[in-house]
């Protein structure tokens, strides 16, 4: 157990304390007790920065299920350190924010902080786990804790709907990922990520490489809300705003990105991976930005913008993975810029999106609504919040002097470089990439402007608001201020960030590249009149025009996507599936014994008869058969006649008599076939059975109405004849397929062994006495059952 393991487990262990702190110290907001946890974790992680920046990694092994190759190995390198810092850092700020956001009188705070700590621990587990199965375990824990957090206000229907939707989609993806991970383990024979990376060549050449890749990507895409699995994220906005800020902008949605980045050394350099990751990322960017524009709820707008921004990061990771195809020697800035852009934008997005969510929470908290149609003119009332909103959204739009500008430039550089690759059919399709990215950025610019200008500019309309709006308390403003400060800081000192966090992270995504120092330049705010800058100017220019004309074409944009929402498709799919399942069950679960027996017999016929037909099991060999005497033939005919009498009888009495005749004839056959004991027993049993039948006959109602005849029902007839045929064929074939001599010879020494001259009785009580014992037991149980049924009557439940 190392400090890194302890770091992962601390949030989990602390959850045990939280309820006690909540119940015991009601006067102090529980959040204050939770706040030190992420803060301390952040500090202890931050202390590793210098060492990791030097290229150092830490690995601590803890055996868990060694026999299955599952070790809880904690591994720290640049990538996981970057994520760990984001998780703990934003986590601390979010907890501070939530202290002011959630009322300690009205809210169930212990639930909130327990779920939040569970989530934090799970997320830390995801990024530090080195074993893919352990990673999967923590992965599902993030899904579960996110589910709990979304449905925090479980009294609201929309919360439970959102939680259910998020859970269904992420768990479905998680299961796909588990399958992919197991496939990977099957290929490599290990579950350790580092050992998998070492087998890069083996994996890339394996036949199940593509299925494993697609399945794992499904997990990553569902978690990171990539198209078309993005639909859960807007509905997850029913969660409290601190949760939206933490889970649905900074951490959980980046778990998928982490997975893609972490597995790039395994899957990268492959065309399928390149196009899947880059393509899906770009589609997500375009779709998320496009749909964000038409939102009227600020949180929904941020949700779609998160989707779009995640699309940027994912597409950059896809483009950058091409570096692994070319190898270290050739790969210059052309390939690696994209990865740098991805990790840089990932950090930036965490800062500005966390800040923006907190801003929305403040507006919601102070104005009572998040609807931009009711908000306006808040600038003078909430100057600090306004400044924070400006910093966050201008950074998101990619404007200087904020960090989003730098990563947006890198994004354009990556896309422009990609169009020059000569691999993976990029020479034909590559031209599209910068164009799609550019269009997505224009929409991004438009919704960023809407985000800033609608609530804060224009006219203040107090009559539309429930509360008297005023500036938020400082405690609530402090966390977004820190994030906004980072937004500006990263713009002016990007290379400090790059040196200590981004390059080590890149070293994990592209092993060997950073060490070879193949053209990793510095991030500069100004590189001269590059195409990227012109593109940004274009974004601003066109974006402004689009924004100004927004009222004119808003009608079109609102109407068009409403018809084709993926959520509607999802709801439809669920409803259809449920309806189909219900109909299917109603169809075959009829509640009729007859139908169930029909299924059973039909399956008996098809399986037994069919397998005999297919395997050619039918063998008819009458050579060893004994001869038939005339009187035997007569007996056989009478037996059949008696059975038919049971079937065709008009009255129950005839049926019972028929059964009696059949029973006595069976006894007669026992006589003929030299089984005296059987004949005796059969005679007695048949007599008693007939008496019992007659008893029941007396009590039961007559056949339906008056002695009505059984009509022929065709399905039953077919099944019955089929069963009879199969049994006959089996009986005949069994005689022709005798494999070895019977063991009955042994029992002929019954006298020597058991002192009995009646062999059958010797078998029953001596050789195989156990059977008899339990047969007696069966008989006793039946007797007790009969007695109980007659004596004990249901108490008033079904009075006669």
């Amino acid at each position: 157990m190392s400090w890194l393991h302890l770091l992962i487990l601390t949030p989990f262990l602390y959850t045990i304390l939280v309820p006690f702190l909540y119940k015991g110290l009601r006067r102090i907001h529980t959040g204050w007790f939770v706040l030190p946890v992420p803060a301390l974790l952040f500090v202890s992680l931050a202390r590793q920065i210098p060492q990791v920046a030097e290229g150092g990694t830490l690995s601590y092994e803890l055996p868990w299920i060694p026999s299955l190759g599952i070790n809880f190995t904690a591994y720290l390198d640049g990538l996981s350190l970057m994520f760990g810092l984001i998780i703990t850092g934003v986590g601390a700020l979010v907890i501070l924010y939530s202290i002011y956001y959630l009322s300690k009188e009205r809210e169930a705070l212990h639930n909130f902080y327990v779920y939040l700590l569970l989530f934090m621990g799970a997320m830390l587990g995801v990024v530090f786990a080195e074993n893919v199965l352990v990673l999967y375990l923590f992965w599902e824990m993030t899904s579960i804790s996110s589910f709990l957090l979304i449905a925090y206000w479980y009294q609201r229907k929309s919360s439970t709907y959102g939680a259910q939707k998020a859970f269904m989609i992420t768990i479905a993806g998680g299961l796909a990922m588990l399958t992919g991970v197991l496939l990977l383990g099957n290929i490599t024979g290990t579950f350790s990520i580092r050992e998998m990376i070492a087998q890069f060549a083996v994996i890339q050449g394996h036949s199940t490489f593509i299925p494993a890749m697609v399945l794992i990507l499904l997990g990553a895409f569902t978690k990171s809300a990539q198209f078309p699995f993005h639909i859960w994220l807007p509905d997850a906005m029913e969660a409290p705003t601190p949760i939206s800020a933490y889970l649905h902008s900074a951490t959980m949605v980046k778990a998928g990105i982490y997975l893609i980045a972490r597995l790039t050394p395994i899957f990268g350099g492959n065309m399928v991976w390149f196009w899947l990751v880059a393509g899906v990322g770009l589609i997500t960017l375009f779709w998320g930005s496009f749909v964000a524009v038409k939102q009227t709820d600020l949180k929904a707008m941020l949700a779609y913008s998160t989707i779009g921004q995640l699309g940027i990061i994912v597409s950059l990771l896809g483009i950058g993975s091409a570096a692994l195809y070319s190898g270290v020697a050739e790969a210059g800035a052309l390939y690696t810029t994209a990865i740098l852009g991805a990790v840089f934008h990932l950090v930036n997005h965490s800062t500005f999106k966390g800040c923006l969510f907190m801003v929305v929470g403040i507006i919601d908290h102070e104005a009572g609504t998040r609807d931009i149609r009711r908000l306006g003119g808040l600038m003078n009332l909430m100057p600090v919040t306004f400044s924070l909103a400006v910093i966050g959204s201008f950074s998101m739009a990619g404007l200087p002097p904020f960090n989003g500008f730098l990563s947006k430039e890198l994004f354009f550089t990556g896309m422009l470089n990609a169009s020059q690759f000569g691999i993976f059919h990029l020479e034909t399709w590559g031209r599209l990439l910068p164009f799609v990215a550019w269009v997505g950025s224009v929409f991004t610019f438009v919704y960023c402007m809407i985000f800033v200008l609608r609530p804060f500019m224009g006219k203040y309309q107090p009559q539309k608001l429930e509360k008297k709006t005023h500036e938020a308390p400082w405690g609530m403003l402090f966390p977004p201020m820190i994030l906004a400060g980072l937004v500006i800081l990263f713009f002016f000192f990007p290379n400090v960030l790059a040196k200590y966090l981004l390059y080590p992270a890149m070293a994990a995504i592209l092993p060997g590249f950073v060490a070879a120092d193949s053209g990793l330049g510095t991030i500069a705010a100004w590189h001269g009149w590059t195409p990227e800058l012109l593109m940004t100017l274009g974004v601003v220019g066109i974006g402004t025009i689009v924004f100004l004309a927004f009222r004119k074409w808003r009608g079109i944009i609102v109407r068009v996507p409403a018809r084709f929402t993926w959520s509607a498709l999802y709801d439809n799919f669920l409803a259809k599936t449920e309806g189909f399942a219900a109909r299917f069950t109603d169809f075959y679960m009829t509640g009729r014994l007859r139908d169930y027996l029909l299924y059973i017999f039909a399956i008996f016929i098809t399986v037994s008869g069919g397998s005999m037909l297919i395997n050619g099991g039918f063998a008819f060999d009458p050579t060893g058969a004994s001869p038939i005497a005339l009187f035997e033939l007569v007996l056989v005919l009478v037996l059949v006649g008696a059975a038919l009498m049971v079937l065709w009888s008009r009255t129950r009495l005839t049926a019972i008599i028929g059964l009696g005749i059949a029973g006595y004839l069976v006894a007669a056959f026992f006589v003929i076939f030299r089984a005296p004991d059987l004949a005796l027993t059969q005679l007695v049993v048949e007599t008693v059975t007939t008496v019992l039948f007659l008893l029941c006959f007396y009590f039961l109602s007559s056949w339906q109405g008056k002695n009505e005849k059984v009509g022929w029902r065709v399905p039953e007839l077919v099944i019955a004849v089929g069963v009879g045929l199969v049994v006959t064929i089996m009986a005949l074939s069994a005689q022709g397929n005798r494999v070895f001599e019977p063991i009955s010879r042994f029992y002929e020494s019954a006298y020597e062994l058991a002192g009995a001259k009646n062999i059958v009785n010797a078998i029953l009580v001596d050789f195989r006495g156990f059977d008899t014992l339990f047969e007696i037991l069966v008989f006793c149980m039946a007797g007790i059952g009969v007695h109980t049924l007659i004596k004990l009557r249901g108490e008033g439940k079904n009075p006669k």
Partner: protein, 112 residues
């Protein structure tokens, strides 16, 4: 003889199954009894018919009929009898409580 018995057993099974599929409780029990007869005869037939003498050692015979199927059938007869008796009483009780012996009318009772 074995061939003939196989056919008879098939007929017994067919009639038994047809009865099992009917709506009246009593018919269902009758059907299961017929199937039991069929099964007993099947076991006996599979052991081979009339090969050798009665399996009693005091009757000196060069060979005896296979005693194992007979022992098995004896067990089966008794168990089947216990089952039939229980089923009959169950049918009786059902009729007394529910007022019908029609499977179709027993469907969807509130107690289900």
């Amino acid at each position: 003889m074995e061939t003939l018995m196989s056919v008879v057993i098939g007929i017994l099974f067919a009639i038994g199954v047809y009865l099992l599929l009917s709506r009246k409780l009593l018919r269902i029990i009758l059907g299961s009894s017929l199937i039991a007869h069929g099964a007993n005869l099947l076991i006996l037939t599979m052991g081979g018919l009339k090969k050798g003498g009665v399996p009693l050692l005091e009757r000196e015979a060069p060979s005896y009929t296979d005693p194992i199927p007979q022992a098995l059938i004896l067990t089966a007869i008794v168990i089947n009898f216990a089952l039939t008796a229980f089923l009959l009483v169950l049918a009786y009780r059902t009729y007394v409580s529910v007022g019908t012996d029609d499977m179709e009318q027993m469907r969807g009772l509130e107690d289900e």
